[in-house]
């Protein structure tokens, strides 16, 4: 063997084949139109086929868990908003729910109903963003504007309710902050009627379109065993037929009273996850309607001391966020600040399956799969 450099594809006797190929690395992100935030993917490609994909996280890491240890419980609520910033209400619910579980506190029934209303509206917001951006990544310029148009109406409702469009700071330990303003219920119900027609329009646009089917069906299939082994939750695993929804698995708030039903699909591919999100939006509309129609009278917040001092102890509380199981593991040492807040973000756990799913697929499928797993980097990095 000569000491000359061996070129790729060179055989032992030194001759080169007429055509040889080389793998190369491509960097997707962190600044990239379709990585849903600041995510860096180092992709090794052999032509168009992905050989390996390595995600690099942490570009949006703000150290929120450490911050929360240095704030009181009420001060901490506004930080929790910023995890999954497209659906703020759900994050808040998980945090205050954990504190209430630790204190074994009973929340007034009106507050529980209001929580369901805002949580489900937030879930609709989040799914609209997920679907809109996923379709934008596939090259459809129009559905995202329709989705955001509907989201604007929900954000207007929220602005009327709590004064803010993105960081709501609405949930409190023991209830919610404000009661509904005059005429809010009527506005919300009329929005829901319009929204159902918008959903029909979106379905008609996407479901029958052969191009979407060609891009999404059979792509990024998550089998139930793989999903459970990787801890996938939310629409990503319900799209594979696994009936795992925290609202029925470990019911919290008043979902059982309102007759909630999880939505499932069985194909496990990107299209199935899209269908699950559409169905979940319809179910959320139903939940909001039922909650508003059956809204009980009463206070919206349990009266409690200004400085909240939960007893010493620990608790784990999880809710069904729009992306999956959002869990909070809370340890309190009896002081006004929590001792440790560990957040289990669904996007963080769901993102872990991405390298497995894209191996052997084409480059174009990376964005399709990432869009269907629905990742928000605020939650992944905290």
């Amino acid at each position: 063997m000569s000491e000359a450099e061996i070129l790729p594809g060179q055989t032992e006797d030194g001759s080169l084949p007429s055509v040889f190929t080389e793998e190369f690395s491509l960097n997707l992100g962190p600044q990239h139109p379709s990585t849903h935030g600041v995510l860096r993917l180092l992709v090794r490609l052999s032509g168009e086929i992905v050989v390996d994909c390595k995600p690099y996280l942490g570009y949006l890491h703000r150290g929120v868990e450490k911050i929360l240890e240095n704030r009181t419980y009420m001060q901490g609520i506004r930080y929790v908003d910023q995890f999954d910033y497209v659906s703020g209400m759900l994050n808040e619910h998980s945090y205050v729910g954990a504190v209430e579980r630790l204190m074994q506190l009973e929340v007034p029934r009106r507050a529980e109903y209001l929580r369901v209303v805002v949580d489900e509206l937030s879930r609709i917001c989040s799914h609209l963003v997920a679907i809109g951006t996923a379709l934008l990544d596939l090259g459809a310029w129009t559905p995202i504007t329709y989705c955001f148009r509907d989201r604007e109406e929900i954000l207007d409702l929220f602005e009327e309710l709590c004064g803010s469009r993105l960081n709501f700071n609405y949930h409190r330990v023991g209830g919610v902050l404000f009661d509904l303003p005059e005429g809010w219920v009527a506005k919300c119900l009329s929005f829901l009627a319009r929204f159902e027609r918008s959903l029909d329009e979106l379905e008609e646009f996407v479901n029958g379109n052969e191009l979407f089917i060609a891009r999404l069906v059979g792509v990024g299939v998550i089998t139930p065993e793989m999903g459970i082994a990787y801890g996938i939750s939310g629409p990503s695993i319900r799209g594979s037929g696994v009936n795992f929804d925290i609202r029925t698995y470990r019911p919290y708030s008043v979902y059982t009273e309102l007759g909630f039903e999880p939505q499932l699909a069985t194909a496990g591919d990107c299209f199935a996850r899209y269908l699950v999100r559409m169905a979940e939006m319809r179910e959320s509309v139903r939940m909001v309607r039922r909650a508003l129609e059956g809204l009980p009278e009463g206070p919206v917040r349990a009266r409690m001391p200004h400085y909240l001092l939960p007893p010493k102890g620990e608790t784990y509380f999880s809710i069904e966020s729009s992306k999956g199981e959002l869990g909070v593991y809370l340890i309190s040492d009896g002081t006004a600040n929590p001792y440790r807040v560990k957040v289990r973000p669904p996007s963080f756990v769901n993102l872990q399956i991405l390298p497995e799913l894209v191996k052997g697929q084409k480059v174009a499928d990376i964005v399709a799969i990432l869009g269907s797993i629905d990742v928000v980097m605020g939650e992944v990095d905290r």
Partner: protein
Amino acid sequence: MRPLISVARRPTPDSRLVAAAEIVRGHLGPRLLSISYQAGDILCLEVDRSDLLATATFLRDAPELRFDFLSCVSGVDMVSHMLVVYHLHSLSNRLTAQLKVKADAREPVVDSVSAIWPTANWHEREAFDMLGIQFNGHPNLERLLLVEGFVGYPLRRNYQLPRRRWPHGRMVEEGGPVDERS
């Protein structure tokens, strides 16, 4: 005026959870350091570090338990020792369990469960990143959220955030540990 807080009594654990507790107690025997029910619906176990892998495999594979869904792996710095807490779901039996393992405060080393539940991979990387807990047998234990080359473990209780005027007028320029427990 009487406050409106109504504090419910600690609810009693339901029968399936009690049955599961019996199975665990029967299998582990003296290796089970403590067992309790958190708010009546989570089965809390504590074992020693050396029994972690065996317990985890048993919890995943025992047919009456089948805790196949690892939800969360948390690291906690309890100054005198480190804690690693695992939260598990059993989807087919509708049970939730919490498994605690104690580790050394200065150089915490725990076995990695990523061979048992693949999802533990990134959870353990994050625990290493934030608290410096070493996981034996982890495929690639590198920093996940913080930048490569970051020195220190921020979520430890002795880690000071940089450039703050801390009590007693001490101005800290760089973040870092304030005692020898690095």
